[in-house]
């Protein structure tokens, strides 16, 4: 790159040639690596307080090291701080180290904290999307107990759930409720890609009570899909189960009355009914086991004669 131009006000500094991130072992084209670093050296011996940095863009996304920024727009890659990372593949991961940022939009690369990682595969994580669901009443922020989260998948491979809990007296804190739940068995194929899912509170690592905000981190490592997200996201609050009442009041009164019958002098009805049943069973057995042998004394030619009976 050339020397700086001739406008007054600016500090003369040396601008080094841009260094592309190395992909693989051979030198790569600038377009393939996706990221290049331009070092600007201020003149020796001088410290400068920078007012602004002006430049003419030529198809590059500006890389600036910034902290504490709120995003509002559609596509922007904001802070990159890259140290010692070698990419070996085609699409590189934008490495961002960010703290304390609130996002409000739908597509943005948000939080990845990567240190000293070498990627070796062909398709790496291309995009991650995060959706924030904040429960906001008009007058006050409502804390809820979550029963479950239901949604319809659209080509998202993994989902992680983070919740912002606000316990009374303490600051609100983000914690992970579920890490990398697989939605698609194989991120490259269709199975599970448009299915309905439900994440119940029992599946979460912590109890989702006093939740102010829920963050869903969606991952789709496969580059086979043009887009991915979740649809129809619904969060159902947890309600206390109603006290178990098997029988309505008036029915239970009846059974109570049953038990309070005056039992004095009378045998236990259960014992009576079971002995009756035994006797009946006995008669059934007798019926089935009827023999042709005559019983004995009192029948004459197979029948009873009344007169004979009287005599005995």
């Amino acid at each position: 790159m050339s020397e700086s131009s001739d406008l007054t006000d600016h500090v003369t500094c040396t601008i080094k040639a841009s260094v592309n991130l190395q992909i693989g072992d051979t030198k790569t084209e600038i377009s393939q690596s996706g990221v290049s670093v331009v070092d600007i050296n201020l003149p020796f011996g001088k410290t400068v307080n920078i007012e602004d940095v002006t430049f003419k863009n030529y198809f590059c996304i500006v890389c600036i090291q910034i902290e504490d920024i709120t995003f509002k727009n559609y596509f922007c890659i904001v802070c990159i701080q890259i140290e010692d990372i070698t990419f070996k593949n085609y699409f590189c991961i934008v490495c961002i180290q960010i703290e304390d940022i609130t996002f409000k939009n739908y597509y943005c690369i948000v939080c990845i904290q990567i240190e000293d990682v070498t990627f070796k595969n062909y398709f790496c994580i291309v995009c991650i999307q995060i959706e924030d669901i904040t429960f906001k009443n008009y007058y006050c922020i409502v804390c809820i107990q979550i029963e479950d989260i239901t949604f319809k998948n659209y080509y998202c491979a993994f989902v992680s759930v983070r919740v912002l809990k606000r316990t009374p007296g303490q600051e609100a804190q983000w914690s992970t409720a579920l890490r990398d739940l697989p939605l698609m068995e194989n991120p490259h194929t269709e199975a599970g890609s448009q299915d309905y899912y439900s994440i119940h509170r029992d599946q979460m690592l912590l109890v989702p009570d006093n939740v102010v905000s829920v963050r869903l981190v969606l991952r789709q490592p496969s580059s086979a899909w043009l887009t991915f997200n979740l649809e129809d996201i619904k969060i159902h609050p947890h309600t206390q189960p109603a006290p178990v009442k098997e029988v309505s009041d008036w029915l239970s009164d009846l059974t109570l009355v049953d038990q309070h019958l005056n039992m004095e002098g009378l045998p236990d009805p259960q014992a009576v009914s079971s002995s009756i049943q035994q006797m009946w069973a006995l008669t059934e057995v007798m019926q089935t086991n009827q023999t042709t042998a005559s019983i004995g004394r009192f029948d004459v030619d197979g029948c009873y004669d009344i007169n004979l009976l009287c005599l005995t």
Partner: protein, 504 residues
């Protein structure tokens, strides 16, 4: 099928199963038997529940319940309704537009020829005066609504709108006609799934002619299995069914009963055939005449085929399977009295092989109906199911590309895409292409593994077997000629070699 799942999912599935079985005939029979058994002296009042349960178990009713639950589990999918038919939106829309085309074709045929879709036979005409088989000139006006190759064109045109096609040729590029990212099993996974077909286990279809001892043992084992339940029969059939036991084993696996109520149902359907005329009947006649009657093996069963297929087209029980079939019965068709399954050219070949097994038409009918609602419907509807025809085509192409890349490439270069030849085999489940005994051995495995994937494997195995000849052809017509006659092929050795003996 249920797989693993948490306890909550399990209890939800159980609740669904109970719901489905509650209204069934088996439920009322069980209730009646339970009531009757109260007269038995062994049933004590204190232990009523256990005694009744024990009685039902001992008298064989528990086994019937097992079979019914097993059958329900095969057709049950625990997902919401629209989704249960087909989870992918673009497949649903493709199926819907295909159905519209078919129905339009049917309606235009109906109006062209002046034959209504369905009508009640006027009471003046008696059953005998109306000829059951129309004269030839009358029949010749009817053409089949569609042929398998029309359906293939629809499948080739399927695209996922969210799929990124922009990549250049890479290791994942696919040379075949089906360009969809469906998950299909490769040879390694198929080997695991079909482990009983391995080289070291005896198979019927390969080891039949071996010395008598294993054959006889298998036969007596089969007789014991017939006393067990559907799951045991399915497991047994994985290595083939002996010819003499096949009919009963298949009926047991499918839980297709032939009791009084089934025979009555069949008689009712037959009465319906006499009372109502349907356009579809003519299509069925035509189809049977064109396919089964011309076949050396099946022409004797012409009458059976007419009976069964005409009853099939009037059976309302079929409608239930549309809950998990991506297809939908066309509404106007239903109002006109039809039952929603429009036969295509070659449909009668699904029934023809079964005629060898079952003598009584009502039993033949109930086995065929059960096989249709479990397996055959997937062969002519657009869905993403692993047993669906789309997945089978993709699996066939992937298997061929992975194991015979040179052959695939050669055929592609000469304009003879392998799927164009193999498609008609798979759509008919090889019926009419293989000799009957081989076909029945193949269908043994189809029932035993509860999956149609074996059709894709066999198709690839046939190509592998004839690969030397195919490498020398120079046009689609000559490739078709090489693969025209499959009647001499032995199915099980081909499958075994392809899955277990080829380098992978």
């Amino acid at each position: 099928m249920i797989d693993g799942g948490t306890e909550r999912e399990l209890s939800a599935t159980i609740a669904q199963l109970v719901q489905r079985l509650k209204g069934s005939h088996l439920h009322s029979q069980l209730e009646r038997r339970a009531k009757d058994c109260l007269h038995q002296p062994e049933i004590k009042l204190e232990s009523l529940k256990e005694d009744v349960r024990h009685f039902l178990r001992v008298s064989g009713w528990e086994k019937k319940l097992h079979n019914a639950v097993y059958r329900e589990m095969h057709v049950l999918l625990p997902t919401p309704p629209e989704h249960r038919k087909e989870p992918l939106l673009y497949m649903r829309s493709a199926q819907a537009s295909w159905e519209r085309r078919v129905l339009k074709s049917l309606s235009s045929m109906s109006s062209e020829l002046g034959v209504p879709l369905a009508r009640k036979v006027p009471s003046g005409q008696s059953a005998s005066s109306r000829p059951l088989i129309g004269p030839n000139e009358y029949l010749s006006q009817f053409r089949p609504v569609y042929a398998p190759k029309d359906f293939l064109e629809v499948l080739i045109g399927l695209r996922n709108p969210n799929h990124d096609h922009s990549e250049q040729v890479s290791t994942r590029s696919h040379w075949g006609l089906i360009q969809l990212p469906l998950s299909v099993r490769d040879v390694v996974q198929m080997r695991e799934m079909y482990s009983e077909l391995g080289l070291t286990s005896g198979q019927l279809g390969i080891d039949d002619e071996a010395n008598l001892h294993p054959g006889r043992r298998r036969f007596s084992l089969g007789i014991m299995v017939l006393d067990q339940d559907s799951a045991a029969a399915q497991q047994y059939s994985r290595q083939g069914c002996p010819m003499g036991l096949r009919a009963d084993l298949w009926a047991l696996i499918l839980n297709a009963t032939n009791q009084a109520q089934d025979m009555m149902h069949y008689e009712q359907l037959k009465a319906g055939v006499i009372q109502h005329d349907m356009l579809v009947d003519n299509l069925i006649y035509k189809d049977v005449k064109l396919t089964a009657s011309n076949d050396d093996y099946y022409f004797v069963f012409e009458d059976f085929l007419y009976q069964v297929l005409m009853c099939f087209s009037r059976d309302t029980a079929i409608l239930e399977h549309f809950m998990y079939n991506s297809a939908s019965p066309p509404r106007s068709f239903i109002q006109g009295g039809g039952r929603g399954v429009i036969p295509f050219h070659g449909f009668s070949m699904y029934v023809a092989p079964l005629c060898f097994l079952y003598n009584s038409p009502s039993e033949l009918y109930s086995v065929f109906r059960e096989m249709y609602v479990r397996y055959f419907f997937r062969l002519h509807s657009v869905s993403s199911s692993p047993s669906g025809i789309v997945s089978l085509c993709l699996q066939f192409e992937r298997l061929l590309q992975a194991h015979l890349p040179q052959l695939f490439y050669h055929l592609r270069q000469i304009g003879a895409q392998p799927l164009r030849i193999a498609f008609r085999w798979m759509v008919r489940a090889f019926s009419g292409y293989l000799s009957t005994d081989q076909l029945l051995l193949l269908w043994d495995r189809l029932l035993a593994y509860d999956s149609l994937e074996i059709l894709a494997v066999l198709a690839a195995a046939v190509f592998a077997f004839r690969s030397d000849n195919l490498m020398e052809v120079t046009s689609l017509a000559s490739a078709e000629a090489v693969l025209a006659d499959l009647s001499t092929l032995k199915v099980m050795p081909l499958i075994q070699i392809f899955l277990f003996a080829s380098a992978a």
